[in-house]
Amino acid sequence: MRTDTLLEQLCKINAIAGFEASASNEIKEIFGRYCDKVWVDTFYNVIGYKKGSSKNGKKIMITAHYDQIGLIVTGYEKNGFLRVSNLGGVDTKALLAREVTVHGKKDVFGVIGAKPPHLLSGDEMKKNVKLTDLFIDTGLPDEELKETVAVGDPVSINSQFVRMVNGCAAGRNLDNRCGVAACVLALEKLKNIEHENDVYVIATVQEEAGLIGAISSSYNIEPDIAVVIDVCHGDMPEADKASTFTLGKGVPVGVGPAFNKNVTQQLLKLADQEGIPTQLCVEAGDPGTEAWAIQVSGMGIAVVEVCIPLRYMHTGAELVNLEDVDTAAALVSKFAAGRTVRLSKEDADDTDTD
């Protein structure tokens, strides 16, 4: 499947953190094309399973969260306005003058405005807006609004998926539909090659708000190895070079206390052997991804992380290079399919040829 078409389809889906139920079926349908079994669990994680060919294979779990940040209705103001709070880490800088969809009994179009510039003082103009200062203008009469939209209804931020030059694409939800796309592409590849390991590919929920998806899926599946696919910060002017990664220059792989050193080394070696360029993404502690929750699930799980560089994260103008999605998928599928990966020195089999 073409990466851009796949990603476009995925980005259209609305799966706001905590409200993924309605989207889970569509993800299930996509996964279902490439798996032996697919199911949706109690928390709406979508789990795809492909059986491995070897009895001695490991259980490998690949996760990419499919929830997106959004807003939630907290109250009404006269004349068709709604007050909101956040679901996940929303940057208010990127909310002014945006179009949104309020998911009530039916979808309601809205606009986020704020006090007009003419009425703002010099000081006010210099400060960032707080979420409590923002309103959604629905243009509906109050009666009808209260009938259609309830407190607690989720709101998604509208933004088109746009193909850019140089193989790039921009829009909303690229965090983390890129990861989900990489999962789908990896599954597609795995369908056509023999793999020793049992592979679980999971589109998880609520990464943006509490990691319950990662916690429940890793507890229930108990994999030997977990591979997390998430976005990381792409290169941007003025941003700290240590925390940003160049688009199109290789797959950033997580390095640091959160990731299993041994398995990460194997992943990097494999990438090298297969001619897949990598970059090192160093994290001193909590990487801010599902890896942190998965690492301490149960008696502990060996986690590695593969990233896709993305600029302007959590704005409606996220930007990626599609090649990075492909490379991530290639690396993950080769890793999952490869000869039995070793967890420790004691685990080595006799057929090691390195």
Partner: protein, 328 residues
């Protein structure tokens, strides 16, 4: 109800030292449930056996307090907080230690700016003149709770620790009202919620319920100059959509809203940005437990004059009763 509320709210039970309040609750429900026991951290677990689903209701027994950290040479007691204690709300309040000794919370007068008020500039005076004399009553590590009486007025209850003794009252009331249960219900009076939702998760781990509902208080947005919040006193049981730690599971949330509509129980919807209740640690326990919350609207949380509406409390009881007796 007011007598029950008074007995519960007045009891001593700061986080980590819940023995007294647990004893009070125990006496009230002993003989009315099939199983009653205390677990390792001190959670009190009362089970009414039944078929169907296993449902856990959690209300925390602990209250916020202050812990003595250092006794000055002239007898004054330095302290720090147990849970979310506001220096401003504590100033001028009376506190009581486990052994009944009372003290006044004061501050260093030389302090210029109110914004510089913090615990290291405050102290408790129990009226002694020396460290030796103070140590006869209070040692470092001893915890005091705020002192206030419980009043009923205008259909409202006013007291300290309604967070979450009112939740405990709701659970006790439910236990009293239920003869037969359709599902298996674990009524859990949890510990250490105020210091990080610590007891609930461990209780849930052992109980392994199918569903869980936290019964706690929640803030209102109906007082002068307050931050906007859609919850109001007297407008019904608050069904939690989300708080700072949990996005309620649709199974629980939708069921509660459905039942409220079906049985014509007054309810409102709760969306909170910060702060969490026991659902926060329950829902991430083991492989995840679908959880939600039913809250009692409460003004002036974490002050010695918390205020709830008796009608809201009744509606919470009604809603929870419908929930735990529902067979689908």
């Amino acid at each position: 109800m007011i007598e029950l509320v008074r007995e519960l709210a007045d009891a001593y039970g700061p986080s980590g030292r819940e023995d007294e309040i647990r004893g009070v609750i125990r006496k009230k429900i002993s003989g009315k449930v099939d199983e009653l026991y205390t677990d390792t951290l001190g959670n009190l677990i009362a089970v009414k056996k039944g078929n169907g689903k296993r449902i856990m209701l959690a209300a925390h027994m602990d209250e916020i307090g202050v812990v003595a950290t250092y006794i000055e040479e002239n007898g004054f007691i330095r302290f720090s907080n147990i849970g979310g204690v506001s220096p401003v709300f504590s100033l001028g309040q009376r506190v009581r230690f486990a052994n009944g000794v009372c003290g006044c919370v004061c501050y260093e007068e030389k302090l210029k700016e109110p914004k510089d008020l913090n615990f290291s500039k405050m102290f408790i005076d129990i009226g002694t003149n020396s460290r030796e004399r103070t140590m006869e009553y209070v040692s470092p590590g001893d915890i005091a709770v705020f002192e206030a009486g419980t009043i009923e007025q205008n259909g409202r209850y006013i007291s300290k620790a309604l967070d979450d003794r009112i939740g405990c009252a709701v659970l006790i009331e439910l236990i009293g009202q239920l003869k037969e249960v359709k599902n298996e219900i674990a009524f859990v009076f949890t510990v250490q919620e105020e210091v990080g939702l610590r007891g609930a998760g461990t209780a849930a781990y052992a109980i392994k319920p199918d569903l869980a509902v936290a019964v706690d208080v929640t803030n209102t947005g109906d007082t002068p100059g307050c931050n906007p919040l859609s919850i109001e006193l007297g407008k019904g049981a608050a069904v939690m959509i989300k708080d700072g730690r949990t996005i309620s599971h649709p199974l629980v949330k939708n069921k509660l809203i459905d039942l409220a509509k079906r049985f014509d129980i007054q309810y409102q919807l709760e969306v909170i940005e910060k702060g969490g209740n026991d659902a926060g640690s329950i829902h991430t326990t083991a492989g995840g437990i679908p959880s939600g919350g039913v809250s009692i609207p409460c003004r002036y949380m974490h002050s010695p004059c918390e205020m709830v509406d008796a009608g809201d409390v009744n509606n919470v009881v009604k809603l929870l009763k419908a929930f735990i007796q529902s067979e689908d």
